[in-house]
Amino acid sequence: MEGLFFNVNGGFVEGIVRGYRNSLLTGQNYSNLTQCETIDDVKLQLGPAYGDFLASLPPNPSTSALAGKMTDKLVSEFRYLVAQSVGSTAKFLEYLTYGYMIDNIALLITGTLHERDTRELLERCHPLGWFETLPVLCVATNIEELYNSVLIETPLAPYFKGSLSHHDLDELNIEIVRNTLYKNYLEDFYNFVQTHPDFSGPTQEIMSEILQFEADRRAINITLNSFGTELSKQERRKLYPEFGNLYPEGSLMLSRAEDVEGVALAVSAVSDYKSFFDAVGLSQGGGGLGGMGGGPADGKSLEDLFYQKEMEMSKFVFTRQFTPAVVYAWMKLKEQEIRNVTWISECIAQNQKERIGNFISVF
């Protein structure tokens, strides 16, 4: 039923994305990449997939330049999709960019706080998080001005409203601001896919699952990373998105967790996460955060496992039809691909071949 009218507006975009998906690097490509001796070889191997975008790179480019060009391709493809989309799909795509906007705004707030020349910062902003009023942010010279006259104009204004005052921007650590915004964003996005009538059906199912996972991942990461810092439990709890598989009991337990075992206990209700914790040995308590140093030796860290899971979920999205969620999945896969290639070229550039296989490939 839901497929009846989807193609009228969203069919083209979905078709394009499926085409893009086919150009993602496969396991075969990756194994070729890992055999490379120099970055030039990597460039050559990437030729079929990235073509013109790599052409302007100098011989033996730095890994960051390479990653930059790959991101450029992602951006231009995404922009094409945005340009082709209408209605609810367009809105959906806009939501995808909010995550990047949050990063950009955090960057600019940091710059403003330290009275740096914010114009320089615009170059550092992620192109996907670009919105029309972003350059206006540079006009503001102090935080109050930034908050009252500029942030209000941005698409992110609702995320600021109610949870952050301009005093908070001044006093709170930028990371807390960023995570608060991200929490609000995730909740809003979740709400959007849950309630929008166009998305009832596959989109709602898929996106709910993905966003719940995302919310849980953030909650777990924030908890793990906040040990040993001045972040209090109350503050920490405010950063947990209020949905997801862990919400509300798991979140409550997370907010009370004092060490890694506490986290492992809190997530044990969800079998996936429990198996992650078991796999990295955190639930035994022998690991701990410091023990993570030895983690990659025997395989993957918790973050790697989360990425792995995310990639698998994204891959399965392509088994569904009539949904813009494939765009989300494609973006995540593409980003992971950029990270993978960066990792591989980094390993090659720095002669650390023994860990070159530490990337995540799902195709």
Partner: protein, 264 residues
Amino acid sequence: MSGAVGREPVFPTRQSLGLMKSKLKGAETGHSLLKRKSEALTKRFREITRRIDEAKRKMGRVMQIAAFSLAEVSYAVGGDIGYQVQESAKQARFRVRAKQENVSGVFLPQFESYTQEGVNDFALTGLGKGGQQIQRCRETYARAVETLVELASLQTAFLILDEVIKVVNRRVNAIEHVIIPRTENTIKYINSELDELDREEFYRLKKVSGKKQRDNAAADAEILAARKKAEAEEAAGAVAAAEPEAAPEAADVLGEQEDNDVIF
């Protein structure tokens, strides 16, 4: 070579000879002491140099590992944290303290790294994701910086020792090649001058004694002549009075003697 170094402007006196001799002795003692110091420092210096060489190579490896851990961070965070890190830096957590080490009278600074407790500018960096990698990266880099600090102390010690050894060697060489030969020259000069003086003195004394001898001889002759004359007169008086036959012979001698007397 020693001929070119000249000598000190002193009067060749016995007093300055004594001074020079003590100076030479002092210079020789100083030379052997400095030589020993220079040897001790050079030994240390070579050791440090070897360790610098090692440490520099080690640094290459350590920094590579550290750079790689940063690559892990950018993989986990999926973005650039550089700017944020730069902006959140406020108080140095990692500091160094200098202490001194005494090597043969040279104070070599030794940097010692320590971390200022309670200062942590990056505790919340990577809160959302990548925090564990960032934590690890921080530890890796902290270890790398420790190596760097160690290397920095070695390098500073190297520079100071280099300088000190140069100074000491310059002194050793100066003493060996300038001061000692010069003092020896001076002593030689004073000795030769003194010898010269001695010889002059000797000659003078000889001359004086020669003159004296001649004078003495003349005086002796005069006395002798006077005595003879007196004897002769006495004898003549006695002969004239008692033995007239001996008188003509005596008169001849007298006649001759009178001629001589005129000349005298």
